[in-house]
């Protein structure tokens, strides 16, 4: 079913909106959650919560890109759950690795000095991502938005793992330089 029609079902308060969402995006959303939580049961709970959140958000929301709208909800729910579960211990899994990589861009030590607000940072990121090739942008987002393991990215993109790692390293360096150039204290 077309996304527009699914959104209409939400607006019509038709419960089939949920089942249609599940049919079309259930697997995708589970992937988003599993990459963060590495746990099947927790991930399914996140996905179910996503449907509930979507039900509550639409209306009034009328998402243009339903997939990303849902994906963001799942990602936030999964990250919240991840934070709660790892509040007292150093987390493992893919997200921990990805976060460690992001520390290349934004060091922990400089946190207190940072004045970058979220909107400005998002804008800077958007400009950075827009300047990348489509392929590099996909790789970057697969890693840092979807927290996909490098191995899976390499398989999807038909690249070697070393090539993916190398590209990610280059992009992180480039992002770091860009943020510094734009006045972010990192």
């Amino acid at each position: 079913m077309e996304d527009e029609r699914i959104v209409e079902l939400y607006w019509e308060r038709s419960e089939s909106a949920i089942s249609e969402t599940e049919t079309k995006y259930g697997r995708y959303l589970k992937t988003v959650a599993v990459n963060i939580l590495s746990n099947e049961e927790d991930s399914l709970e996140c996905v179910n919560d996503t449907y509930l959140n979507a039900w509550n958000a639409i209306p009034p929301a009328r998402p243009k890109v339903l997939q990303a709208f849902l994906g963001k909800i799942t990602r936030n729910l999964a990250l919240d759950r991840y934070r709660a579960e790892n509040a007292q211990k150093r987390g493992g899994g893919e997200i921990a690795l990805a976060l460690d990589e992001l520390l290349d861009v934004s060091s922990r030590e400089s946190v207190e000095d940072s004045v970058a607000d979220r909107t400005a940072l998002t804008d800077a990121l958007r400009r950075f991502l827009s300047g990348l090739s489509t392929e590099d942008r996909r790789i970057f987002l697969k890693r840092y938005w979807y927290f996909m393991p490098v191995k899976e990215i390499s398989e999807e993109m038909a690249l070697s793992q070393s090539s993916v790692k190398m590209r990610l390293l280059r992009m992180r360096e480039k992002l770091r330089e860009k943020l510094i150039t734009e006045g972010f204290e990192i």
Partner: protein, 422 residues
């Protein structure tokens, strides 16, 4: 923590970008794999046609070594121990007779001791695009009775380890570096100035990419008998009549530290002269800049007619992955015999015909902006007695081919199948 801010900031980026990067379906995997194979095919074609042939191996595997065929460990047969390059050519002039070509002797693995351990700190090398899927050159032809490959490197000349580079910015052929028109035009002006020719009447060659968008391929200008062409891959091609090319081509190239090496490969141009005769081309000189194996120029001449200078005025942006263990020539020969090589599109005609037909062995770093990894290769030059040059409308010629065998220990490749086309 700013990492948290970064996470949030990434979360808020455009929905279209997020959806576009969604974990792929099976279709996406297939489409990427297909796209890459297509790129490799295009790239390899371009490599065959115009871009890059080779750089002599690092650490001075140059002419001097080639000329020293016949040491204790030489791959040249013992009865040729005293043979000098000229004599090699003389020996094979009677093409067609039994044992005409230098025979590669059987070679004991004990002669080269190798450390069997694997250095885990070295990054595995990925796909060696585009020296796969039929890439690596075409069937070539040399004037009948000549030797297409001159000399055999000696096992003792092979270093234990050689550098492998990862090349950023791998791009497709036709737009290998992707200079814009302004940059191409600037290069054209630079070389026209060095040549002392006018840039009046520049012609523009374009091509269409997959989306149908017209893109610049090259700018060409002709002044008198000199033709200068610069392509979007920063390739500079200068043709002029025989005898007109300056003896010191570095007056044109302006390399900081030119190292000139005589080249020895004959190959046939696809062109015919005004009389319809095949015009052979021959690489004359090979020029590298200092010790950098990734910076080079090639000069070749048509044995009749013009001389052309090819140079790529760019530096590949590479990162050295590390120094990798190199296999011995004997091991490379075994791989060749097992069919583990890259060569022209594999078919019965280009199957490795046997070691007795090997006429040369050297090492190279095949280079191109389209290559993701810059890896040293053994290059075996081999005669193809079963190929009929007449089938290709070429008279009085012998056919040969070059087989590329990766010189890096296969344990450092991510996938055997990515390297060896069976």
């Amino acid at each position: 923590m700013i990492t948290e801010k970064m996470l949030s900031a990434i979360n808020d980026i455009d929905d279209e970008m997020i959806a576009d990067a969604a974990p792929g379906s099976r279709y996406e995997k297939i489409s990427y794999a297909r796209k890459r194979r297509r790129i490799y095919r295009v790239a390899s074609l371009a490599a065959c046609l115009c871009i890059v042939v080779a750089v002599l191996a690092v650490t001075g595997l140059g002419n001097s070594r080639m000329n020293h065929a016949g040491g204790e460990n030489s791959l040249v047969p013992k009865n040729n121990d005293s043979m000098m390059p000229g004599q090699v050519q003389e020996d094979v002039s009677a093409h067609g007779e039994k044992n005409t070509y230098p025979v590669m002797p059987s070679y004991s693995e004990n002669e080269v001791t190798k450390d069997n351990s694997v250095d885990d700190t070295l990054v595995k090398i990925g796909i060696l695009s585009p020296l796969q899927d039929g890439a690596g050159g075409v069937i070539e032809f040399c004037p009948k009775g000549t030797v297409p490959g001159k000399g055999f490197m000696e096992p003792s000349d092979v270093p234990e380890k050689m550098a492998v580079y990862h090349h950023e910015g791998v791009t497709t052929a036709g737009d290998p570096v992707g200079l814009d028109r302004e940059a191409v035009s600037a290069l054209l002006d630079t070389y026209a100035q060095r040549l002392g020719i006018s840039t009046e009447g520049v012609t523009e060659n374009v091509w269409k990419d997959e989306s149908g968008k017209e893109r610049l391929f090259s700018l060409t200008v002709k002044d008198g008998n000199t033709e200068l062409s610069v392509d979007a891959g920063a390739g500079v091609h200068i043709s002029m009549p025989e005898g007109s090319m300056p003896a010191d081509v570095n007056s044109i190239l302006e390399l900081k530290d030119p190292v000139v090496t005589e080249y020895w490969i004959y190959s046939a141009s696809a062109e015919k002269d005004n009389n319809g005769e095949m015009v052979y081309t021959r690489w004359l000189r090979f020029i590298t800049d200092g010790d950098d194996p990734l910076k080079y120029a090639g000069l070749y001449e048509r044995l009749m007619g013009s001389v052309t200078l090819h140079y790529h005025d760019y530096t590949l942006v590479t990162e050295k992955l590390g120094d990798y263990p190199v296999i011995s020539p004997a091991e490379a020969l075994e791989l060749l015999k097992e069919g583990k090589y890259n060569a022209p599109a594999k078919n019965p005609e280009t199957e490795f015909p046997g070691e007795e037909l090997i006429t040369g062995l050297r090492m190279e770093y095949p280079l191109s902006p389209t290559y993701e990894y810059i890896v040293p290769y053994y290059v075996f030059t081999v005669m193809l007695p079963d190929v009929d040059p007449g089938h290709y409308n070429i008279k009085d010629a012998d056919a040969f081919v070059e087989y590329y065998v990766p010189a890096v220990d296969a344990r450092y490749f991510e996938s055997d199948t990515a390297i060896f086309i069976q």
